[in-house]
Point group: C2
Chain length 559, copies 2
């Protein structure tokens, strides 16, 4: 460990992940050394119209690019690795991750054409890495994807622990035990600050074990008289293993549909994280050649995503797989808040096709468990680590808040708990800590190839356009006397169905002509005020007639 320089401070902040679920990015800086933990993406909220994904604002990192030593990645979920291609394009720093995580990252970097330029370092749970004055070590955790780790960062000011996403599953699948001994040992050595996953801080008790699902699946597979379709998160490799095991147990072959599912099955089995028995996998085309009760179809679409394989099957638009009456469909996932309606629709459509659908409210025994620890597990982590300071991370404000209350309950001083917004910094010096300044942090919106070129004005326009459409008003005026030479022509999109509203648009035309003529007679002829007047008069008229406020775009030309 480097020796302490009395001028240097330890600073901790989040560029994403607090006050939200998604785009996790946490930063630990000691003096001139910056270590970043995770670089995730977030899926857009409803009001972010047309946006594909959201990533953190890394202005601070770019301004301090010579200080950034590494990005450490805790596990391979999109909200932890999905921002990497965008971040690495602007900031070429080494990426450290465990085997499966690195495999998934490399797959992403390949697609983005960044594989060759990125230094990638494979770590294990027992690796230690010196990053300037910061020494990073890791510990095995249990989560809904294999090879997840927590991070311990030893700095001259003290040790900072970041849990990554975790639960304590005492009967995990594939030996993915949380390393309780190592976590306890880290705690025993003394921890200055803990950053811990708050996703399930509102849930009392313990999250059930992943291995509960296995027995359930075997029962379902055994009782199904025809084919079984199982949809789950592509990244849930443990779940996929249990589906494979249940297929094996009930002598069914399996086919995989949906791009991300095909991807993960290939990467995870190549790297040894998924054990697929010889001869188990078949092509989707072969499904119809086997008896229906000998087949399992593993699919994406557990969130009812419109373009996913399950949704296409439900709508009978999948190229290779049809749902037949009597098939069983298992949705082995919980809807992420906001997706309930999509999932509900998919279930409806599957049922209309005659499928037997096993999903949330309809299934008494569970076919899904969360990958995040509930209150008792969060308290266990707090008590194992026994930090002096606590920063709840990875959650909406209410989750962070609940996590803070749990921390108080186990005895952490209220003044030593920091509830942060993205960009808020906490400074540690000589054993004490305080909230310091705020760094730039926020949403960078990605729309197609554009990174950050869609801001509030564009979103506000999209919102307006989506509510009542647009009217384009085209008029040509004479250069000499301002007389109307042609038009006004009104073109509407998304406002009314024109054929049914001819009268309305004719009236609108008259309003525009009248307004222009009046202005001309008053010798008002600056374009700006002509346009404003047309917009106001027409807007008022349309609101009176329809109670709608379409965007109005006057185009005035002179000849």
């Amino acid at each position: 460990m480097s020796k302490k320089n009395n001028q240097d401070k330890l600073i901790i902040f989040a560029l994403g992940g607090v006050g939200e679920i998604g785009k996790n990015m946490y930063v630990v800086q000691y003096g001139n050394d910056i270590v970043v933990v995770d670089a995730g993406l977030k899926f857009p909220e409803e009001e972010m119209l047309g946006i594909d994904v959201v990533i953190p604002d890394i202005t601070y990192l770019l301004e301090n690019r010579d200080k950034v030593r590494a990005i450490l990645v805790t596990h391979g979920h999109e909200d932890h690795i999905g921002g990497l291609p965008y971040v690495l394009k602007q900031l070429n720093v080494p990426v450290y991750a465990t085997k499966l995580t690195l495999g998934l990252i490399e797959n992403k970097l390949k697609e983005a054409g960044l594989l060759g330029d990125t230094k990638r370092i494979l770590i294990h749970a027992d690796s230690e890495v010196q990053l300037g004055s910061i020494r990073a070590s890791f510990f095995k955790t249990n989560h809904s994807i294999p090879d997840s780790v927590g991070v311990s960062l030893d700095t001259p000011e003290g040790s900072v622990v970041h849990t990554g996403d975790f639960k304590f599953d005492h009967t995990p699948v594939n030996d993915q035990y949380a390393d309780l001994q190592r976590i306890a040992e880290i705690g025993k050595r003394g921890v200055l600050a803990l950053l811990s996953d708050s996703t399930n801080a509102e849930r009392p008790g313990f999250t059930p074990s992943e291995s509960n699902i296995g027995k359930e699946l075997i029962d379902i597979f055994r009782n199904a008289k025809q084919r079984v379709v199982v949809a789950t998160f592509a990244s849930n490799v443990h779940r996929i293993q249990q589906i494979i095991d249940a297929a094996m147990e009930t002598r069914r072959k399996m086919t995989v549909v949906g791009r991300s599912m095909v991807n993960i099955v290939s990467i995870a089995s190549e790297l040894g994280y998924l054990h697929v028995p010889e001869g188990m996998l078949i092509e989707p085309e072969e499904v119809n050649k086997l008896p229906a009760d000998r087949v399992v179809i593993l699919s994406t679409g557990s969130q009812g995503e419109p373009m996913s394989a399950l949704t296409r099957m439900a709508r009978s638009t999948h190229r290779k797989v049809d749902i037949l009456p009597g098939d069983t469909v298992v949705i082995s996932a919980t809807p992420i808040p906001g997706n309930e309606r999509y999932v509900g629709r998919t279930v409806d459509e599957l049922m209309r096709l005659g499928a037997h659908v096993i999903y949330g409210p309809g299934s008494v025994s569970g076919v899904h468990v969360s990958g995040h620890g509930s209150q008792e597990e969060l308290k266990l982590m707090l008590n194992l680590i026994r930090p002096k300071f606590f920063i709840p991370i990875h959650g909406e404000y209410r989750m962070l808040r609940h996590h803070a209350m749990l921390a108080e309950a186990v005895g952490i001083d209220k003044e030593n708990i920091f509830l942060l917004d993205n960009g808020d910094t906490v400074e540690f010096q000589n054993g004490s800590a305080r909230k310091a300044g705020k760094l730039p942090a926020g949403n960078v919106l990605i729309d197609g190839l554009g990174v950050g070129d869609v801001g509030n004005i564009v979103l506000r326009d999209r919102k307006l356009l989506s509510q009542d459409g647009i009217l384009v008003v085209v008029v040509t005026l004479s250069k000499q006397d301002g007389a109307i030479m042609s038009g006004p022509d009104i073109i509407s999109r998304g406002f009314v169905y024109v054929r049914e509203s001819e009268g309305l648009l004719e009236e609108a035309n008259k309003i525009v002509s009248g307004t222009l003529q009046k202005l001309m007679s008053e010798n008002v002829n600056e374009w700006a005020s002509l346009k404003t007047n047309v917009k106001d008069a027409l807007g008022r008229f349309l609101y009176e007639q329809t109670r709608r406020r379409p965007m109005i775009l006057p185009i005035i030309m002179e000849v």
Copy 2:
């Protein structure tokens, strides 16, 4: 009862309410007599951009207007009465409803200027009404609004029972017992067809009693050291009564905020359905004059609706009431699917203001129960009525399906259960039934004052506009030789933030000029093909550059 004419058939269908939650409207026709049960509205789904509400398509009723004898209304919820102003404007028929229901309907009709023209008939649970050959009687049910009833329609072909929305609450608030004896008696006399509420058909067991909430509220009010804000559905008069009772019990005064809440408190207490102790109500302005622990604020906004009172308080933009640190906020409702995110945000904002918030996942003991019966209650209704035929209503397809399975489980023949889409008719003749033709049925979209003038084309345009915005391309060509006289000018809205994308738009300009010049040199000068070519070339270019597909509107003028 009229005697049977052998030519006449009994027909039952839904114009709204099956395959959806909302816009309930069920129709029973015998010969030349049509009786309508309920006329509700539905709130728009995400993809219905800019739409305010959705009502049923009543084409069939309008085409048979001389046969429509009555609209019977089961209870005063929006999904049962909200369509009335639109329907009555086109179809002036008598409306039958119980006292509170009629009060709420009259409030609506007054706003729509239809009160004078509408024949309104007050019924009681023991009323009997002859409507042509159909005799209507009613039975008291329990639901989350007082004065709800089910309907029994005796026709020459047999008796049809419509449950309305119901649960069996054995310890209800305000004596709103379901009339078990009368329901049993109706069943004993023999019922041809039952139409029953499927909302909670996926939930096992019994729905807890409304009166459980009362004790919980008293505890919360008692423990709160400052003000208590309670948000619930405005229509839940029983809940409001319990909030008033808890306020009384804990010596707090109450103020009411939110237009619909003020409305319902006034109507329900005027009609005797709400018992407000003398001196209990205070104006919002008086809140600050009382000690904080003597105040309850009853509010709308339990769904996190952006403009509601609670949301405005959470954002500190309410004109009269601020949330202070230490206040307690109770959200006494469950988020309707799709609203989870809005509610979550409101909770976050309230917590950021320092409020203690009691809501769904955070509250161990419940502060909300459903108004709809669960599986055991649905089976109880089926066994009390013992119908020959069964039509599950009021639910998405998966709920109807589960309800059908419950009906099978209690012994109704599978062939005697009809799962309908809106518009599907079931014909009954000589004791047998069959699915017959399909009538027009669907969504009539209301946007502002427009009823039905927004259709698929307009919605598709709004969707396009919302995703990537619009580019308007204006060019003036010479009449003589087709040379470009002015432009191309490109105006973008909702596409990119122009200042950051000048280069792109300049390039786009060149693409348009180039395309036009090439066409002119090839003597292509029909406007339609000029426009199509500009659109295609520009669209291709923009997609290559940005992976976005804005709407492109070419405007070509000639001088």
